[in-house]
């Protein structure tokens, strides 16, 4: 006798956890399958967690959720060869009882979430890889096959939350392979260090955190960004670029990370820290135009597997959690109405996404990935020119200011031409509007 559930959720990342928790809390019979040794064992995130979306799903999450530091300051740095120019935003108001953003260690959060899922009656099974979807004669998904003995399990609906690789959706013909220009490869390390040193170096108190988002010469002209985040007793540092750029072979990912760690601006911040883990992960960067088919007869796809990532704002986990919740809410509504889980009815999930910040934001930036990919000057020439201009401008050397202005302008025009500069401005507006 094959066991049957109301829903099977594949994967214990942010989207799968959100879906499973929402379904279980509503009393549905839900099974979550995770291939890792424990929830989080296969997950990689920078990571910043956005409170608002988690709060919608678990209002009292702050009672016991193992977050690291709440963020009170955001820095955006453009790195040159040995310098940087940047902006900071810091606000005391982020020191509230309900902070907006936290730094997190992904595995800690997913273990915590696993416990919360069990508390509301969800069944989470780890160390189980789903090998394929089971479909009936009409093609409707009716369950999954796993690598465990007698591993066939049925359900009314299968929610694929298996991450950026989305192997099941690809094998089932629901989506194609991601183009190299639509995915980034990011590598990162966690560096353990005395919390007192974190507080001194970043100018923060216990529990307060800083995020630094980085662009510039560290990506060697490739389309990419880097980051440095403060955890409680560790720092997370990472860098990622489009795979289409890595494919050109100018620099390996680990060399790029090593060079970032040795950059004269970054090195003093991480000095003396002990590296405890090295991770790599792909990030969906194709935006709105790369979103695959999201639902069909008996199935839905959520989170990274659905290519939900807002590259411009570096938001991914909140889109994952929101899409997981929306998929679950669609299931709950159909169950209550006694309707079948066919594509026509599951279209309500797509409607919910369309009406939410997920699709609205991705649509707003739909031109951004293409423009960035085709215009590498935003990652090569401009960081170079801007940091050099800053150096020229702020160095006091008896050259009059008018001459400095002219020399800076000339340098920009020489690099990009007047038409190039105007064209780039137009492209930026098109990408962001």
């Amino acid at each position: 006798m094959v066991e049957k559930f109301d829903a099977i959720v594949i994967g214990a990342g942010p989207s799968g956890n959100a879906a499973t928790y929402t379904l279980a809390k509503q009393g549905l019979k839900v099974l979550q399958l995770e291939r890792g040794e424990y929830p989080g064992a296969k997950n990689v995130q920078g990571g910043i967690m956005y409170a608002h979306e988690l709060e919608k799903i678990i209002p009292d999450f702050r009672d016991d959720c193992p977050t690291e530091r709440h963020i009170i300051e955001q820095r955006i740095w453009l790195l040159g060869d040995d310098n940087y120019i940047g902006t900071n935003y810091r606000s005391e108001s982020y020191n509230s009882d309900t902070p907006n953003r936290y730094t997190i260690i992904r595995a800690n959060i997913d273990k915590w979430w696993g416990e919360r899922i069990r508390k509301v009656g969800g069944l989470q099974i780890c160390e189980t890889t789903v090998t394929e979807l089971i479909r009936d004669a009409s093609g409707k998904v009716i369950g999954v096959r796993t690598d465990r003995e007698g591993g066939e399990i049925h359900a009314d609906v299968v929610i694929m939350a298996d991450g950026v690789n989305a192997l099941l959706a690809k094998r089932s013909g629901f989506q194609g392979e991601a183009a190299p220009e639509n995915v980034a490869l990011a590598v990162k390390e966690i560096l353990f260090i005395d919390p007192e040193l974190i507080q001194q170096r970043f100018g923060i108190k216990e529990d307060e955190g800083v995020v630094i988002e980085i662009m510039g010469k560290v990506t060697k002209g490739m389309v990419g960004t880097a980051f440095l985040y403060t955890n409680k007793e560790s720092l997370t540092i990472g860098i990622g670029c489009l795979i289409s750029d890595f494919k050109e072979g100018d620099c390996t990912p680990y060399k790029m990370l090593e060079d970032l760690k040795n950059h004269p601006v970054i090195k003093p911040l991480i000095e003396g820290a002990e590296m405890k883990e090295y991770a790599a992960h792909m990030i969906p960067e194709g935006g709105f135009k790369a979103i695959p088919q999201l639902y069909g007869d008996g199935w839905m796809v959520v989170g990274d597997a659905a290519h939900f990532n807002n590259a411009a704002h570096r938001e991914g986990s909140n889109l994952a959690m929101a899409s997981g919740r929306m998929a679950a809410e669609t299931v709950i509504a159909l169950k209550e109405a006694g309707k079948p889980f066919v594509a026509g009815n599951l279209a309500a999930y797509k409607k919910a996404l369309d009406d939410s910040f997920i699709i609205k934001d991705l649509k707003k930036y739909r031109e951004l990935p293409g423009i960035m990919h085709a215009n590498k000057q935003f990652f090569g020439a401009y960081p170079d020119e801007i940091t050099q201009a800053a150096h020229n401008w702020f160095t006091v050397d008896s050259v009059d200011k008018r001459t400095k202005e002219v020399s800076i302008m000339k340098s920009f025009v020489k690099r990009r031409s007047v038409f190039g500069l105007v064209g780039d401005a137009i492209k930026l507006v098109r990408a962001m509007r």
């Binding site: 291939r35 040794e37 424990y38 989080g40 064992a41 990689v44 800690n108 189980t128 190299p180 883990e277």
Partner: protein, 100 residues
Amino acid sequence: MNMMVPMVKVEEKLYQNRYIVDESRPHIQIKDADVCKSCEKQACTFCCPAACYSKNELGSVTLATDGCLECGTCRVVCQDKGNIAWDYPRGGYGISYKFG
């Protein structure tokens, strides 16, 4: 070759990670060594963040999956040739991130 320097470093990085190795059951395989021979770029050898792929003396590519971080980059870079059979390890095996 200057590629040797970063390769040494990546091994030091991978040494910090926890792996549960599924002995003699690699989850990724090169389908046909001759296809790699005819591949001009062999981009897998410099894109893989764990340096699992290396050029060999036969002009082809050797794959050792023990350090694999299961990111999927090799599958994406090789999609034109389609010469990589990429699967997840069996449940419980492979990279096991303590922090992620």
